[in-house]
């Protein structure tokens, strides 16, 4: 097969990248919702919001999306979902098998790539390699956006990279940063609220609680996924993802009810 690509200069390629990025970024300087963290719960939340025609932007500090959804426990790339989480697997078209009663197993890479694709197809925009630095606070400490910077800038010593961050505005911000609960922790640093840290008690029902407690934690800030565990001191979970998917979906619904 003979292939001949069209001729373009380096300059054209650079223009395409710069203008393509700028065009999109400009639209998302103010979004309906900014989701901090591109793991399974964050992607589910953003997908839900974008599917209703709202502007949802995901801030992800890594180059890759999906968080721990690529891999299950002990670096083995099978992810497990307990009933009723398999509903989401079906919705996303992810093949899965029932391992034991009400416990489902799927291929991590397949599941994760399907979720990312589904979020993008719903209209979610992604800003990867960008790290959350701070919150934008409005009247009565309502969260009105986030302050971000490029991840490599944050990763280098400050003497080398004295680069100021920028702020993005949103009606609602979602903290989907996992156990770190980075956004909520910023409010805690200011004495606005106090998190409880994730608990040590192991009970069968911890997944239910993650979903149940998903919601607004402070005006303008919704929390989902494992960040919920840190905020409310809920029992930690094993490598099972049903709660992440359902918590993200619930956070999306919560945001939509506020827009």
């Amino acid at each position: 097969m003979k292939v001949k690509f069209s001729e373009v200069s380096e300059r054209d390629i650079t223009w395409a990248i710069v203008s393509g990025f700028a065009r999109e970024f400009e639209k998302f300087v103010r979004s309906d919702c900014i989701v901090v963290g591109g793991g399974p719960s964050g992607l589910m939340a953003a997908r839900k919001i974008a599917s209703k025609g709202k502007k949802a932007l995901v801030i992800e500090r890594n180059n890759y999306l999906g968080g721990g959804f690529w891999i299950g426990g002990f670096l083995m790339n099978k992810i497990t979902v307990r009933h009723p989480g398999e509903r989401i697997l079906k919705e996303l078209g992810i093949p899965f098998e029932e391992e034991t009663r009400d416990l489902f197993v799927a291929d991590g890479p397949h599941a994760c790539s399907k979720l990312i694709a589904s979020a993008c197809e719903a209209g979610v925009k992604i800003l990867n390699m960008a790290s959350f630095e701070d919150v934008v606070l409005r009247e009565e400490n309502r969260v009105g956006g986030v302050v971000i910077n490029w991840t490599p800038v944050q990763a280098l010593p400050r003497e080398i990279t004295c680069v100021d961050p920028i702020a993005l505005e949103a009606e609602v911000v979602i903290d989907a940063t996992g156990h770190d609960a980075c956004v909520v922790k910023k409010l805690e640093e200011r004495g606005i609220l106090k998190t409880k840290g994730f608990g040590g008690m192991w009970v069968e029902k911890s997944e239910d609680l993650i979903v149940e407690y998903t919601g607004e934690v402070h005006p303008g800030l919704v929390v989902c996924g494992m960040a919920v565990s840190t905020v409310y001191g809920l029992p930690r979970m094993g490598p099972t993802f049903g709660a992440m998917l359902l918590s993200g979906e619930k956070a999306g619904e919560e945001v939509l009810s506020r827009l």
């Binding site: 034991t100 106090k194 911890s206 919601g215 934690v217 409310y232």
Partner: protein, 258 residues
Amino acid sequence: MILFICMREREKIEESLDYLKNWGWENIYLKDCLYKRRGIRGEELARIRVVNPEDPLPNPSILPGEVRFEEKRIEDCACGKGNVYCGYRLTRFLAYSLDPQERRLSSMPVFITPDYVATWDSSDLRWHLRYAIFSIPTLVSLRGIVEAPARPREFYISRRMGVDTRRLEEKMKDDFLTHEDRRLSRVLAGIILQAIFYFRIGNPFCEDRECSLFHAHWQRELLSSQDDNPYTLCPYHRNLWQEFLHKEGGIRYAKNLS
């Protein structure tokens, strides 16, 4: 005896009442969940949720989301989601929701909840799950019956080594209860029996390992004591039981009580 029950668990509870009736105790009134009473506030429940198993203060600073959760679970009848509550403080404020008639010792108020209850143990500085808190009202935790008495050591060792919990539950099903266990109703009946002795003589427990009043700390102990073989109650408590029945409803002898 007044049993305040979770209507979602009604079937399971009624099965255990059949045991009590079979033992001759028929004076039981069922009432709806105590959380449904007016005056029970989400904020109070959020404040007594045990957040850290190593902190004696259950929940020093509450968030609005926690209050919302508690209010919603009362409204939707959605208890038993896995939260743990301070048993003593829960009984204390539930006592205020009882009317004066219900609060009497002779009314024997028992609240059967699907939630976990725990007490702080100052000897090892940790919260411990309990299957019951004997007080007015007495609290019986359905999930606590399954998870408060420890499972056999082999279970925890195997689980730590990565053996699947479900497989272990299947393999060791004779050694401990699970949430959908058919033996649960008989065990619950024995715990209600403990509550009756608490209300009548102030002590719900017996040192005899075969007596249903035995205070079990292990699932194996619980299952062997909550068994009618060799007897339901030890001879001493069986005599007391006959006295209770006599006072309760004239001359009535314990039916089928071994």
